[in-house]
């Protein structure tokens, strides 16, 4: 008969396996974290010295003049991302709600899910060209709005698919509990399903936000960039990634340094906004709850 009961030697092999697997997972975590930390430190090393008050308060100076800053790009990026989030997050969440709560198992749902997955894989430069063809050509000018809308379309599939996946993790027994109390379906979706899935959905939104915050290609053909303060959403606007792109390609050392500083500011702003959202949404949690 085959030996089923664990023997002593068997136990030591199991223990060794346990140690090896633990070591591999710790190592993998380090491998993932090292590039991130390395990039951050390199940016601080290269860019921090160029950061001063002027960087945050002034617009870029013309070639040949020293000084100047990226204030207009910081404001511009914020505006474009605001437009993108205001449009992309609600539409994305609504799409996810449809896929999970209403359209699961329907043809319509399958088509939307497939479309979202394809959209997720479209290269960002193609999104830029699409934004150009669909918005800029009709408006006859570049604009913050065109940039924001293009970025929002890039956010939608990520937000939709994470919302769907997170809603699917909500146990059906919770929906039934609400139905059993005579709560209408729409209210159950809002107050029970979405509320229970909120932490995961917020993570998905943050991922989508962080991803488009650093996008350059879609903005080249839509927001275009600018050296001046923005006056409205309906004109070309500066954005940090665009300004970094322009400065990094330039032949001037000072512009190179500003590009490094801009990169540092961009990555810091992304981290700050993600951290802020996490902090705000994690407050008021109950003991032993979700």
């Amino acid at each position: 008969m085959t030996q089923i009961r664990p023997s002593r030697s068997n136990a030591s092999i199991r223990q060794a396996t346990n140690h090896i697997v633990t070591a591999i997972s710790i190592l993998s975590t380090i491998v993932v974290l090292v590039p991130l930390i390395a990039i951050l430190f390199y940016l601080i090393y290269k860019g921090a010295s160029s950061l001063n008050l002027a960087f945050f308060t002034h617009t870029p100076k013309p070639v040949g003049e020293s000084g100047g800053g990226m204030a207009n790009s910081i404001v511009g990026s914020s505006l474009v991302l605001l437009v993108a989030s205001l449009m992309g997050i609600p539409i994305g969440i609504a799409g996810g709600v449809y896929l999970s709560e209403y359209g699961s198992g329907t043809w319509m749902g399958a088509i939307i899910r497939f479309t979202a997955d394809v959209l997720n894989g479209v290269p960002s430069i193609v999104m830029g060209i699409a934004g150009y063809a669909l918005i800029v050509v009709h408006q006859h000018h570049f604009s913050a709005l065109a940039g924001g809308v293009t970025l929002s379309i890039m956010m939608i599939p990520t937000v939709t698919r994470t919302t769907e996946e997170m809603l699917r993790t909500v146990p059906n027994s919770l929906r039934e509990a609400a139905y059993g109390l005579g709560v209408p379906r729409w209210r159950t979706v809002l107050s029970i399903s979405l509320r229970s899935a909120a932490p995961g959905i917020i993570t998905g939104c943050m991922l989508a936000f962080a991803r488009v915050a650093g996008e350059t290609a879609p903005l080249l053909f839509t927001a275009f960039g600018s050296n001046f303060w923005p006056h409205s959403l309906n004109e070309p606007i500066a954005a940090l990634p665009l300004q970094i792109f322009v400065y990094a390609l330039s032949p001037y050392d000072e512009w190179h340094r500003l590009a490094w500083a801009g990169s540092l500011v961009l990555i810091t702003l992304i981290m700050l906004s993600v951290g802020l959202v996490r902090y705000v949404t994690s407050r008021g949690q109950l003991k032993g709850g979700m």
Partner: protein
């Protein structure tokens, strides 16, 4: 006060599976009625038809007449309205994990747009006292999540939640099958007290439980109601051979 339930020729399907066949019975008001039978006999489907929960499954279908009080629930009312008058307690405790104990109990009212704080406070206290949970949770009402309680406490919380909307009927689908014996006996005591004010229908695998709490008992087998009579009669002098075999433990 509770109301009676009159079921005539109820049939139910899941897809092509015919799970309930021509069920006809009268459940008297202000009493506990137990439904027993082996797994898959249709007793859960039956109670889910009594508050139109059955139809939340897209593949499910039901025909026949179910009158709760004087209303035909499949013809005179919307499912949402019906479920407000017929409370339900499920097999596994399912408190809302994102809500405090207080909000769990108040959820049926709050989610239907009821906002009066004073009334809500009263309802929460009354419901928790009815479900014998008040003393254990009164200090943590708004601090702790419903999910932080023990399994037995969670089930009593779910009963309080169902009672808070002031239903006429309370449906319980194996409410104690996931609980330990101490919690089970608490739930049974509760049913014993509640049946003076509500009509209670309880599905159970546990025949002793049926004998302890219910005035009437129905025996389901393969989608049919084999026998429905007073609990005393069914356990001592069952008319049908199949009932007798099941009760004496010859199968199931």
């Amino acid at each position: 006060m509770g109301v009676g339930i009159e079921v005539v020729d109820l049939n139910a399907w899941y897809g092509v599976t015919h799970t309930l066949k021509d069920i006809t019975l009268n459940i008297p008001p202000n009493s506990a009625t137990a439904l027993i039978g082996p797994s898959g006999c249709g007793k859960s489907t039956f109670v889910r038809c009594l508050n139109r929960m059955h139809e939340t499954n897209p593949a499910a279908r039901a025909t026949g007449t179910v009158k709760v009080g004087d209303r035909d629930i499949y013809r005179d009312a919307s499912p949402v309205e019906i479920r407000r008058r017929i409370g339900m307690v499920f097999q596994r405790p399912n408190p809302f994990p994102t809500m405090s104990i207080y909000d769990n109990v108040a959820s049926g009212l709050k989610l239907n747009g009821f906002r009066n704080r004073k009334v809500l406070d009263e309802v929460v206290e009354r419901s928790l006292k009815q479900s014998a949970l008040w003393e254990e949770v009164k200090d943590d009402l708004k601090k702790k999540s419903g999910a932080s309680l023990s399994g037995g406490q969670q089930q009593r919380l779910c009963i309080a939640r169902a009672l808070a909307v002031d239903p006429e009927v309370l449906l319980m689908d194996e409410p104690a099958s996931a609980l330990d014996p101490v919690s089970t006996s608490k739930i049974e005591d509760l049913i014993f007290n509640l049946k003076n004010e509500y009509t209670i229908v309880i599905v159970t695998h546990n025949m002793q439980q049926a004998a302890r709490v219910a005035e009437n008992t129905g025996f389901f087998l393969m989608g049919q109601l084999v026998e429905f009579t007073s609990t005393n009669v069914i356990f001592t002098k069952p008319k049908d051979k199949r009932t007798e075999d099941y009760i004496t433990g010859r199968f199931g």
